[in-house]
């Protein structure tokens, strides 16, 4: 005899409305804030103080906004790239490595390839090279998956570590790109000033990268919704079997998706070195995990490139606030990861609410029943 069937039953519902989706997202965020409050509390700091410090630090002043947007730039680019890959059900966890390789490509151009070129030539070449390097780094796991069925979660992740060590190898003495005279510092030489991206005056926002990110978000939105390639991406993501029967080439689509996904993450790396550091630094210096945070940014944006614009801004603020609470309350940077994890938990739980509705039923007596 089987145990009694529970009284609560969940049923699938049709595509959730925009209102339901938004409500679930907001509720997930609020619940995550609530749960993390206990973590802070357990750590001996007042969660309200922490939250107000995060908010004031990131959105409470022009200075805060400036940094929030600056940090949102790499998140936006990586997030847009990831959203497209996830749409095709390719679990690209490798934005971090793709970003780093983009930074390497741009630095190579600025330091060695054409260091004396005028900005009008140098900067576009850096972006192009960054895109190519990031894209190439993304193509490797795509080929391994499409041809050899290698699990892309693992390959993309492992390639993050490999890229990180590669960057460190380049810049740490006696690495080949360690700047002359920088012996003890893990830096390359400074780029010539023609390789520096311009700022919005009075801020740290390197606007060419920002504009590029916004344009790509719109471009990707249109691509996914309005083009044949976008259609194929969606079909492959939702029903790979159907895609195969319809004669779509998994190989070709996944190659294109990962070239774009990795390439766009590479652009984020270009922005970091050309817009902020003006040299290549160790991996942790170039990116304190933007590629990982972008996974949540993409997911929170519901894999919609336009949604990613908003979520990247939110997480840019969270990163700035995270730095702030590190200084003010002595909380380690890792605290933000707790928050990231818990937000994802609640969003996943909320997903169920979006796609299913809870139905209350009286238990039926005896007999099997069809559901």
């Amino acid at each position: 005899m089987r145990a009694p069937i529970p009284q609560v039953k969940v049923e699938k519902r049709a595509e959730p409305s925009k209102g339901v989706t938004l409500a679930v997202l907001v509720a997930s965020l609020a619940l995550a804030l609530f749960v993390v409050a206990f973590v802070f509390w357990g750590y001996g700091v007042n969660p309200l103080d922490v939250y107000s410090a995060i908010f004031i630090g990131s959105f409470g002043s022009l200075f805060g906004w400036s940094w929030t947007i600056t940090k949102a730039i790499p998140l936006l680019l990586c997030g847009v790239g990831l959203a497209v890959a996830f749409k095709a059900l390719f679990w690209n966890i490798g934005a971090e490595g793709q970003l780093l390789m983009g930074a390497v490509g741009a630095s190579g151009v600025a330091l060695y390839l054409i260091p004396d070129a005028p900005p009008i030539l140098l900067i576009p070449t850096m972006f192009a090279m960054g895109f190519l390097c990031g894209g190439a780094w993304g193509l490797i796991p795509a080929i391994l998956k499409a041809k050899l069925k290698a699990n892309e979660v693992i390959t993309t992740l492992m390639m993050n570590y490999i890229a990180g060590y590669f960057v460190n190898y380049l810049v740490i003495w006696p690495g080949p790109w360690n700047g002359p005279g920088e012996y003890s510092f893990p830096y390359s030489s400074l780029f010539t000033s023609s390789a520096w991206l311009p700022y919005i005056p009075g801020t740290s926002i390197h606007y060419p990268t920002l504009v590029l990110g916004l344009a790509l978000a719109i471009f990707m939105y249109v691509l996914v919704r309005r083009t044949k390639l976008g259609y194929e991406i969606r079909v492959i993501g939702e029903n790979p079997e159907a895609a195969r029967y319809a004669g779509m080439s998994y190989f070709k689509t996944v190659m294109l998706v990962m070239l774009m996904s990795g390439g766009i993450a590479g652009l984020a790396g270009v922005g970091e070195v050309a817009g902020i550091h003006h040299r290549l630094r160790i991996a942790m210096g170039v990116s304190p995990g933007y590629g990982y945070t972008a996974i949540i940014v993409a997911w929170l944006g519901r894999l919609n490139p336009l949604g990613v614009i908003l979520s990247s801004l939110l997480f840019g603020g969270l990163l700035v606030g995270g730095d702030k609470i590190q200084v003010t309350f002595g909380l380690p940077v890792a605290t933000i990861s707790i928050f990231n994890g818990i937000i994802l938990f609640f969003m996943l739980g909320g997903e169920l609410l979006m796609h299913y509705k809870v139905v209350w039923r009286r238990p039926q007596r005896g007999g099997e029943r069809r559901e």
């Binding site: 089987r2 699938k12 973590v39 750590y43 679990w91 966890i93 391994l144 050899l148 069925k149 290698a150 699990n151 979660v153 693992i154 390959t155 992740l157 492992m158 390639m159 570590y161 490999i162 060590y165 590669f166 460190n168 190898y169 740490i172 690495g175 990982y292 996974i295 949540i296 997911w299 909380l331 380690p332 940077v333 890792a334 605290t335 933000i336 990861s337 707790i338 928050f339 990231n340 994890g341 818990i342 994802l344 938990f345 996943l348 739980g349 997903e351 169920l352 069809r370 559901e371």
Partner: protein, 312 residues
Amino acid sequence: MSSPETVVASLLGNAVAAGTPLLFGTLGEIYAERSGVLNLGIEGMMAVGAVTAFGVTLATENVWVGVLAAATIGGLVALVHAFLSITLRANQVVSGLALTMFGLGLSGLLGKQYIGKPLPSSLVVKPIFIPLLRDIPILGRFLFQQDLLVYLSIALVLVLWFVLFKTRIGISVRSVGEDPATCDALGVDVYLTRYLCVLLGGALAGLAGAHLSVAFAPAWTEGMTAGRGWIVVGLTIFAMWRPRRALLGAYLFGGVEALQYTLQPLGFSPQLLGMLPYIFAVVVLLVGTRETIRKRLGAPAALGVPYARGEK
């Protein structure tokens, strides 16, 4: 430099020691995946296990309490993933990633107070010297001069292999991962079986972390798991979901890690050497995947697919 024989002996010995956390983790992931649940949260559970073992050992001055606490906490953290993926039928990839982020974050927060603190050597899980046997050339240091956790992990390989392939419980675990609907109809509790397997996976990931922080490299540093949790996910595929092959894979990996320590003093760039395990992980994944396909063994058919009674 010492004699070639000593170098080989210490390389093999270090390979086993470095492979042990991977072995614990892989054994756990094998059970979780066999039951149909992909848990990508190993890295996070391992980190939480490592910090727990270190902190509890310091506080109680008893390393075994620390080790036990690590396993317990690892299991508890895994329950979050179990609840999301089994009960709420959430996306297992994302849930596992979330677990990793959460675990890495939590371990960083909890571990901040332990950074730079050494574990008193009286509390470290130390190698046991088995008299006579350890004097056998090469093999002696390789096999008979390891710590208790290493022997525990080897014993677990045998136990978990036996349970998985020779007992009713094992049949349930495996069938639940292949065809949950039929199991359900036959009266096997799909949900309970999966919950228990994920719990076991978490506990073993916790033990893996404990071996790192109180035996292999007795200290706490943030990010000390260094991607081992991900390597475990790859090793599970390489092992083709078999405990005995996990032993082989874990020690191979341990060997690559040990090779780093052997080569570094010879003037190789530590950064380039640092890449080795990750490159090797990709290679191992490819080998495992190819063999799985060639032998038509395949992953558990229901791996990563949530089970909902009565839903197709």
